[in-house]
Symmetry: C2
DNA sequence: CTGTTAGCGCATTCAT
DNA sequence: ATGAATGCGCTAACAG
């Protein structure tokens, strides 16, 4: 059944169908008009001989590889993996297949990976996150259709697909305020990675906007800097505890730090949500398993990926990319308590 | 810098280096002997013209694609993602690059994905898990080097790379016994998926062996069937509670079910580990974030992937695959209490 | 609408 | 050790 090294070529089926090779080629890719009868004959021969086109010959002759290069950062990151999933789905019923590479958030690795992808003559490129400078990206996009996911580029806004982090964080904060909280700690992380951190910056801005709109003064004492790692969430909590500034809720800029915070609270004998309410951001699958389950923000990763695939397809076909901005959902679980 | 549609061909560099195209080809792939001087000249021309070989032409001419097909099941599963990571690393410094596809644990999707991979003339195939019948796999391996990860095949043991689940579960159970536990619940899941469930079966056997070796009688009342999903872990706990058979520890066959169990205990007001000790299996990242952090078993996913890559490379080079069996590590955290 | 003719860029004989 | 010639399998002008 699964029959691989099929040495059947287009010539064989041309013979069998009594037509010329080029007609076969045309019939196969239904380009131009082909008489229905001949097309039938071709199709039948194809089926009988179990013919499978040689992608390399196709690519060499046509200049198209029918593959899309996808550069991610650190396989295994839930959000990025979700995007990858969406991308796969987005190309599932097309003739393109994605070729993945991992940049690991290291500029050099990223460069190499992109080179590799370009060497393979990918017909388009999807970059998820990453550090590569905008200038370099423009160089690339001049020759290869390019879509950037989960990153916002000033110079090419129509090529970027991302989530409105500011709004999401605003929603979180407003939710906490509506639940009666006034002293809301925000664990941020704005002094690290170049670009990935922009999201975090937006989250902080959303937090601040919600406070302002509610007429609350934003106390700088309530904002702690972490580094997105779990550990830093724990440290942030300890720092707040030492600081002595009272608070009733914590909004961490990502789930990892929320997990760390949860653990630190646990170690201090502080209950969640009875004593302190806690909200994260990302909806990692772990969030739902916490004790208690964590209220957090779910980013539509899958949808981002699908949109990226669609946008790239547009680009390849000469249409405008059409890159929507996505909204995230607040997932309410049991880690927040309503204050009287 | 990043210069893509480099129309520089082997002819251009042949001219520039004052040699024939074939010499260039030879120099590039240092096949046969090439005079050091000429080789130098070639290399220099290559550098100056920023030449990049056309993979398609190479593949078409040589019959090799320099890509390895990798079929996973459900992107985003931590264990499998770890394997993917290992595979990527394993090929990092070779000339091969992996081409990924997702079978989603659906036989039909899997078939299609493998077809796609084979159509792309991959030089080798790595299958992670999956449902495809052994017979079909033998058909494939007759024509394409094949390695299977995280699955044990009776008919081709030298092609399989997996973890010794029985031993790992034995270790878990022995650990619990050493901590003073006698009534150990095991949440299993042996009546579902075809093959993925074999691991779970081995885990149960390890559990039983440890009990026997300790001279404890294995009480069937203490084994509950789940379905690997989180929810079923919760149900299992409820079932045990209703059953009335006392127990002091729970060993769940995977972390998901352990998470579910944890939640159910939490809902019933039963403390972990004060009242009940809990151990999982998989070491999902969530495990370390639980309250309290969960003792569990870590499978060397990365190593499996790397070993798979190495084994496949061996196969391609005509050497024996060399497929080691891996051991898992017990990761001791705070969810187990020592009984007096 | 269809067949003929050329390459696509490289690896690999075969000679030398 | 090196050059010339051939072909990998297919697409794309080019003619009819």
């Amino acid at each position: 059944m699964i029959d691989h090294d099929n040495k059947v070529t287009i010539l064989d089926i041309a013979q069998k169908a009594n037509v010329s090779p080029s007609t076969v080629s045309r019939a196969l890719r239904d380009s131009a008009g082909v008489a229905a009868a001949k097309r039938e004959a071709v199709m039948q021969a194809v089926a009988e001989l179990n013919y499978r086109p040689n992608v390399f010959a196709q690519s060499l002759a046509s200049g198209q590889s029918m593959t899309i290069g996808v550069l991610t950062q650190n396989f295994g990151t839930p959000f990025y993996d979700g995007i990858l999933l969406g991308i796969m789905q987005g190309f599932e019923h097309t003739n393109y297949s994605p070729l993945f590479a991992d940049g690991r958030w290291q500029e050099e690795t990223e460069q190499r990976a992109i080179q590799m992808l370009l060497n393979r003559r990918v017909d388009g490129l999807i970059l998820i996150g990453g550090q590569i400078a905008e200038g370099a990206l423009q160089t690339i996009t001049a020759k290869t259709p390019l879509i950037v996911v989960a990153r916002e580029l000033r110079t090419m806004p129509d090529r970027c697909i991302y989530v409105n982090n500011e709004q999401a964080a605003y929603n979180v904060t407003k939710y906490l305020i509506d639940m009666g909280h006034r002293d809301i700690v925000h664990i941020s992380a704005t002094m690290f990675y170049q670009d990935s951190v922009k999201d975090v910056l937006y989250r902080r801005q959303g937090y601040l906007r919600a406070l302002q709109e509610a007429g609350l003064t934003a106390d700088p004492q309530l904002v702690v800097e972490g580094n997105l790692q779990r550990q830093s969430g724990a440290i942030a909590v300890e720092m707040m505890l030492m600081r002595g500034r009272p608070f009733s809720a914590i909004f961490a800029a990502n789930d990892q730090m929320a997990f760390g915070a949860r653990l630190a609270l646990f170690r201090k004998g502080i209950r969640v949500p009875e004593d302190i309410s806690l909200v994260g951001f990302d909806d990692e699958s772990a969030a739902a398993y916490m004790v208690p389950p964590l209220t957090t923000v779910q980013q539509p990763a899958r949808e981002l990926g699908q949109a990226a695939a669609a946008a790239l397809l547009n680009l390849i076909n000469g249409k405008p990319a059409a890159t929507p901005i996505f909204d995230a959902n607040l997932v309410i679980r049991e880690s927040v308590r309503r204050l009287q």
